[in-house]
C-alpha cells in the first residue's frame, strides 16, 4: 500500500576544515513514503539541517558528500548533473527554510520572486504567471494578493513571509516538500497557523513532506513518521503515534521526559545528563552511551546496529533480540 518516493541510503557527509574532514552524518538511511510527513528531529549538531540541504545538493562549499545515495524516481540525486538537478529543484522537490525573512530576496518584489519560479520550469506568459501567483498567495491565506504582489519582503511579517515561501514552494505542485525548521523563528500562534497550513496543503496535494525540527511537540503535531537523529545517526524511527506513546530508545525517552508541560506543574524536570556531542567528537561505541542512564559495557565498545521490529527501528542493544 505504501509507495516509496524518496530513499536515502547510507548518506555520509562531512565538513572540510583546516584539521581534516569532520564527519556530521554517519550513514543515514530512510525511506520517505508517498503522501506522508516524515519528521526528522534532532538537537543542534545532530546533522539534521545538513541532511536537509544535501537532499537538493544545496550544501555550503565546505561540505563534502562522502558516500551514499539519494534515490528519487530511480535516479541518484547526488551524482546527477547540476543541469538536470535544476529541473528537479523547485519543480519536483521544493524547500522552505528556517528564517523566512532572510530567505526572500530583499530587493525583489514578492510577485517577481513567485513568478520566476514558474518561469524557470515552464513556458508561461507574464500575465498567466501573475494570475497563478495571485492564486497561490490566496491559497496560503494572504488577503488582497493582487496588490501584495508588488510589495517587498520587508513589508511582510515573519509569518507572512513564511506563507509566501510556502506559496513559492507549492507553485509547481512538487512531489516532495522539504521544510527545514519552518516555524522555529515564529511566534507560537503563527507557528500553529503555519503548521495547519502545511498539513492542509500536504493533504490536498497528496504531497510528501520531510519536516526538520528540534521541537518534539511540533513533530508530534504534524508527522506521520518520526526519525530521531543524534550525532549524525538515526537513533530511532517509528510511526509518530508509537514513538510518542512508547519511545524505545533511551535518548528519545530522555528527550520526551525533559519537556516542561503546559498541562501540569512539575516540580523537577527529568534531564539527560551532559551535553550533546559536537561534530568531530570521537566515540567508539554508541554515541549516546556517555549520557545514557541505561548504558552497559557493550554500549561503549561498538555502536549498535538498527534493530527493526514491527515497522520501527531502534539503535540500541536493549532492543536486541526483541
Amino acid at each position: 500500500m505504501s509507495e516509496p518516493i524518496l530513499q536515502v541510503q547510507d548518506l555520509r557527509l562531512g565538513f572540510a576544515t583546516d584539521s581534516g574532514s569532520v564527519p556530521v552524518l554517519h550513514g543515514l538511511s530512510y525511506t520517505l513514503e508517498k503522501g506522508k510527513v516524515l519528521a526528522v528531529v534532532g538537537e543542534s549538531g545532530s546533522g539534521k539541517t545538513v541532511h536537509a540541504l544535501s537532499l537538493l545538493k544545496l550544501l555550503p562549499p565546505n561540505a563534502r558528500i562522502e558516500g551514499g545515495k539519494i534515490i528519487y524516481q530511480g535516479k541518484n540525486l547526488l551524482t546527477m548533473k547540476e543541469s538536470s538537478l535544476r529541473h528537479i529543484r523547485g519543480k519536483k522537490i521544493a524547500m522552505i527554510f528556517q528564517d523566512p525573512g532572510s530567505s526572500l530576496n530583499p530587493v525583489l518584489t514578492i510577485g517577481e520572486q513567485l513568478c520566476e519560479t514558474l518561469h524557470a520550469h515552464q513556458k508561461i506568459s507574464k500575465t498567466a504567471s501573475r494570475k497563478r501567483a495571485v492564486e497561490l498567495l490566496t491559497q496560503v491565506g494572504i488577503t488582497d494578493a493582487e496588490k501584495r504582489l508588488n510589495d517587498y519582503p520587508f513589508q511582510f511579517s515573519g509569518g507572512m513571509c513564511q506563507r509566501v515561501m510556502i506559496a513559492m514552494a507549492l507553485a509547481l505542485s512538487p512531489d516532495i516538500l522539504i521544510a527545514d525548521e519552518p516555524t522555529t523563528a515564529l511566534d507560537v500562534t503563527i507557528q500553529a497557523q503555519i503548521l495547519t497550513l502545511i498539513k492542509n496543503l500536504q493533504k490536498q496535494n497528496g504531497m510528501s513532506v520531510i519536516f526538520i525540527t528540534h521541537n518534539l511537540a511540533v513533530a508530534a503535531q504534524i508527522a506521520d513518521e518520526v526519525l530521531v537523529l543524534y550525532a549524525g545517526q538515526c537513533m530511532e524511527q517509528a510511526p509518530a503515534a508509537q514513538l510518542f506513546s512508547r519511545p524505545l530508545h533511551p535518548y528519545t525517552q530522555g528527550l520526551l521526559g525533559s519537556l516542561a508541560s503546559v498541562r501540569q506543574k512539575t516540580d523537577k524536570l527529568s534531564v539527560i545528563a551532559g551535553n550533546p556531542p559536537r561534530p568531530g567528537d570521537k566515540t567508539e561505541g554508541c554515541p549516546f552511551a556517555a549520557r545514557c542512564p541505561k548504558a552497559f559495557e557493550k554500549c561503549y565498545k561498538a555502536c549498535p546496529p538498527l534493530y527493526e521490529q514491527a515497522g520501527r527501528s531502534t539503535r540500541c542493544y536493549l532492543q536486541e533480540g526483541k
Binding site: L56, G90, P106, L108, T117, A120, Q155, M165, M168
Partner: protein, 341 residues
C-alpha cells in the same frame, strides 16, 4: 523620500558658505597691500596701491568684505582672474565641461570594469579570474596617481606617440573655434557629435585616454575590492540558497539575485569616488596639461589669484554636494527598503 532630498539640498548653501568663508578668512592673512598689488598689472602703478585698497574696500572687516563678495556672486560676478586672464565666471564656464567630461568618462570606466571584475572575482573565488582581479586591485592601490600618470605619459606619448597630452590637437582647435562649429553643451564629446565632426570626436576621445586611465586606477581598485566582498557576502545569504532551491539558472542567481543586492553599497561608493575623482583631476590635469578646472585651480593658486581660488573652491563645493545628492538618490532608488520607508 522627497523630504530627505529637500534636507540634503538645504545642506548645499551651508557647505558652499562654509568653504568659501574659510578660504576668504585665510586670504585675510595677507596684508591689504599685498592683496591690492594683485590687482595691479603694471609695476609702475605700484604707487597707486592705496587707491586700489580704498576702491575695493580691502581694509574693511572680513565679514563686510565677504558679504560684498557674496553679493557679487549672487549677481554672477565672481571677479576677475589674472591667472586665466578673464573673468572667473567665464573661466569656470570654459574649463568645467572638460573636467566633468573627464570625470564622467573615468567614472564610467571605474563602475563598468570595477563591477565586472569585482563580481567575476567573487563568483570565481580563488580561481584565476579572482587572482587576476585581486592582483590588479592591489597594484591600483599601491600606484600613486602622479607616478602612474608620468609612466603612461612617457610610454604612450614619449615612446609610442599614441596619445598626446592636452585637451585636443591644433587641428581640432581650429575647427572648434571656427564659426561653423556650434557650441550646444560645452562638452566637446557631445558637441562634436552634434556637429557631425567625427574627427574631432575621435581626437577629443584619444586625448581623454591617458588622463582617464590615470584617474580611474585608484577608484577602480577600490571598486573591485568592494564589489568583490559585497558579492561574496550576498552569495552566502539565505535568499541565494532559496533561489537555488527554486531551480533557477546559475546566471539568474548571480546577476538577478545576488548582483542586485551587491550593487547597493557600490552605488554609494561610486558617489563618493566621483567626488574624490574631482580632487584627483587637479593632479592629472596638471600632468597631462588638460584644460580643465583643476589646472585652472592650480594656476590660480600658484599666482595667488584670490578671485580664481575662491571661484574654484565655490565650484568644487557645489560639485561635492551635488555628487553626494546624486549618490543618495541612486542608492535610494536601488534599495526598496529605503525608497518605500
Amino acid at each position: 523620500m522627497g523630504r530627505f532630498m529637500l534636507r540634503r539640498l538645504c545642506l548645499l548653501p551651508l557647505v558652499v558658505l562654509g568653504v568659501t568663508f574659510l578660504l576668504f578668512f585665510l586670504t585675510q592673512r595677507l596684508s591689504p597691500e599685498m592683496r591690492a598689488s594683485l590687482y595691479v598689472k603694471d609695476p609702475r602703478q605700484m604707487g597707486a596701491l592705496e587707491e586700489v585698497i580704498r576702491q575695493y574696500g580691502l581694509r574693511d572687516n572680513v565679514f563686510k568684505q565677504y558679504g560684498r563678495w557674496l553679493g557679487n556672486v549672487v549677481h554672477g560676478d565672481l571677479g576677475y582672474s589674472p591667472s586665466a586672464n578673464m573673468p572667473v565666471a567665464q573661466a569656470l564656464k570654459q574649463y568645467l565641461p572638460a573636467t566633468i567630461q573627464l570625470a564622467l568618462v573615468t567614472m564610467l570606466l571605474v563602475v563598468f570594469f570595477g563591477v565586472w571584475f569585482g563580481a567575476a572575482s567573487a563568483v570565481h573565488k580563488d580561481k584565476w579570474q579572482d587572482i587576476v582581479a585581486r592582483f590588479i586591485s592591489v597594484g591600483g592601490f599601491s600606484l600613486p596617481i602622479f607616478v602612474l600618470g608620468l609612466i603612461l605619459l612617457m610610454v604612450f606619448y614619449g615612446k609610442l606617440h599614441w596619445f598626446a597630452p592636452g585637451g585636443y590637437s591644433i587641428q581640432t582647435d581650429i575647427i572648434i573655434h571656427s564659426s561653423a562649429f556650434k557650441t550646444y553643451t560645452g562638452f566637446l564629446l557631445l558637441d562634436s557629435l552634434l556637429n557631425g565632426q567625427w574627427r574631432v570626436f575621435g581626437d577629443v576621445l584619444s586625448h581623454l585616454v591617458l588622463p582617464a586611465l590615470t584617474l580611474c586606477i585608484g577608484s577602480f581598485a577600490l571598486m573591485v575590492r568592494v564589489m568583490r566582498s559585497s558579492m561574496l557576502e550576498e552569495l552566502n545569504k539565505d535568499y541565494v540558497r532559496t533561489a537555488r532551491a527554486k531551480g533557477l539558472r546559475e546566471s539568474q542567481i548571480i546577476y538577478k539575485h545576488a548582483g542586485k543586492n551587491a550593487i547597493i553599497p557600490v552605488i554609494t561608493l561610486a558617489g563618493i569616488q566621483f567626488i574624490r575623482l574631482l580632487g584627483g583631476t587637479v593632479i592629472v590635469e596638471t600632468i597631462f596639461d588638460y584644460p580643465g578646472i583643476g589646472r585652472f585651480g592650480v594656476l590660480a593658486a600658484q599666482q595667488l589669484d584670490i578671485a580664481g581660488i575662491l571661484g574654484f573652491s565655490l565650484m568644487v563645493a557645489v560639485l561635492f554636494v551635488v555628487g553626494n545628492l546624486l549618490s543618495d538618490i541612486l542608492y535610494t532608488a536601488a534599495d526598496p527598503r529605503i525608497r518605500l520607508e
